[in-house]
């Protein structure tokens, strides 16, 4: 004899908000970077679980295929897995160790973005920062010029 199981879940289970998640915005921007550079420098987003329990970390990498697929971690975005905002942007430093946070930008971004609009504004300022432009410019310049030797051997045999 079968017993009906009570469904205790509410009828309406759906996305809690119309806001675009930070990871989606990052992926869109990663794709747009590729469009701007003709994929000479591409953006890649990878998501991991942060050391803090329950916090997701999305890292935006700049990838240069011509430089042995060198990956530069430009920034991290962190937020709780159970809520998309507030989201904190942490910018990496090119000059210091890649684990360091870039002081000037970090000051600007220190306050978490409370919503999609704030998040986009903060991202825009990171992308427009002189150091960010310098890093992308350097990757582009090196990709067009002489490259470091690879393991790959090309011969006509």
């Amino acid at each position: 004899m079968s017993t009906a199981i009570d469904d205790l879940w509410p009828v309406e289970i759906a996305s809690v908000t119309d806001e675009v998640p930070p990871v989606t915005i990052l992926k869109q921007q990663a794709s747009l970077l590729g469009q701007k550079t003709k994929n000479i420098v591409e953006g890649k987003v990878e998501t991991t679980l942060s050391d803090n329990e329950g916090v997701l970390r999305h890292t935006l990498y700049l990838v240069a295929p011509a430089l042995n697929f060198y990956r530069y971690p430009l920034l991290d975005v962190e937020h709780k897995a159970t809520s998309m905002y507030p989201a904190k942007i942490k910018v990496r430093s090119a000059e210091k160790s890649q684990k360091d946070i870039r002081d000037d930008i970090w000051d600007l971004q220190n306050a978490p973005a409370d919503n999609e609009e704030e998040f986009k504004n903060k991202l825009k300022s990171v992308f427009a920062d002189e150091e960010t432009k310098k890093i992308i410019g350097a990757l582009l310049a090196q990709s067009g010029g002489k490259k470091p030797p690879k393991k790959r051997i090309i011969s006509d045999y």
């Binding site: 590729g34 469009q35 003709k38 994929n39 000479i40 591409e42 295929p65 011509a66 697929f69 990709s143 067009g144 490259k147 030797p149 690879k150 393991k151 790959r152 051997i153 090309i154 011969s155 006509d156 045999y157």
Partner: protein, 272 residues
């Protein structure tokens, strides 16, 4: 999905290649003898006049370069060595396939002049592909590249070689039992592209060396299809290209124009 394979003999073929991919709507471009120096120049050329940009995928140590219209998230490396790369192509709402690309050493290669050395290498590479198919759980495999041998050669047809047969009917039997071991078939449509009674050129490579025996035309560049992909392969899509966009890849005599490449490009499609 349309694929183009071309051994470009280290030449910067820029505009010619972008004309081919635009005219034939190619999604995967596979090049042999594409040096580090020109791989980014070629990416630039491919992306100059299109919004549907190509991505350069990581070659690692293998001797071929693959560009795709889709990001490399959808084409994962399963295996790479100097001569073989195997990629798992898995696009949304499409069946996953394995793309194996070979640039086999020529008979002039110091280590592979002897038939038994070549035979061992073919046997190792084909065995590697079978292992990967077993690991990923399917054999929807397409193999393409510069195999540096003709379809009728021993290493192409032997069971522990490429085991590539000339008809679909034989390939549909899937495997053949030899000395208590089952070996899967490949279908080799290149058999049907030989000679001057076909629509395209008589082969993909031409040589004339003054030897007693001379074939003149060779089919070094090939595509082989596993039985599980046969229904996805339309023979009509297979072309050896000799011209595109007003540019001819052959001399007036009909043989490949080595100023571009001494090989002709190979185009084929899979409905996946």
């Amino acid at each position: 999905m349309k694929f183009l394979f071309w051994n470009i003999k280290k030449n910067s073929i820029g505009r010619v290649l972008s004309d081919i991919v635009e005219e034939h709507k190619v999604e995967v471009v596979i090049l042999a003898e594409c040096s580090d120096k020109i791989e980014i120049e070629i990416l630039n050329g491919l992306n100059t006049e299109t919004d549907d940009l190509f991505h350069l995928t990581a070659s690692n140590e293998t001797r071929v370069v693959i560009y795709t219209r889709f990001p490399d998230d959808f084409i994962k490396s399963e295996y790479n060595d100097e001569f073989l790369t195997v990629r798992r192509v898995s696009l949304p709402a499409r069946r996953e396939i394995l793309l194996a690309v070979i640039h086999f050493p020529s008979k002039r290669h110091e280590s592979y002049k002897e038939p038994r050395d070549r035979q061992k290498l073919v046997s190792d590479l084909s065995s590697r592909i079978r292992e990967i198919e077993s690991r990923v759980g399917h054999s929807r495999t397409v193999l393409t590249g510069d195999l540096n041998m003709n379809p009728f050669e021993e290493d192409m047809i032997s069971a522990n070689g490429w085991h590539a047969v000339m008809t679909r009917d034989i390939a549909r039997k899937r495997t053949r039992l030899v000395q208590k071991e089952f070996y899967p078939f490949f279908y080799n449509p290149m058999w049907g592209r030989f000679g001057d009674d076909t629509e395209g050129p008589p082969g993909t490579y031409h040589s004339k060396k003054g030897l007693l025996s001379e074939y003149f035309w060779h089919m070094w560049d090939q595509v082989l299809i596993r039985p599980d992909l046969l229904e996805s392969f339309d023979s009509a899509s297979l072309q050896i290209l000799k011209e595109c966009g007003g540019a001819s890849f052959v001399k007036p005599s009909g043989i490949p124009n080595a100023r571009l490449s001494d090989h002709l490009p190979l185009l084929f499609a899979l409905e996946i």
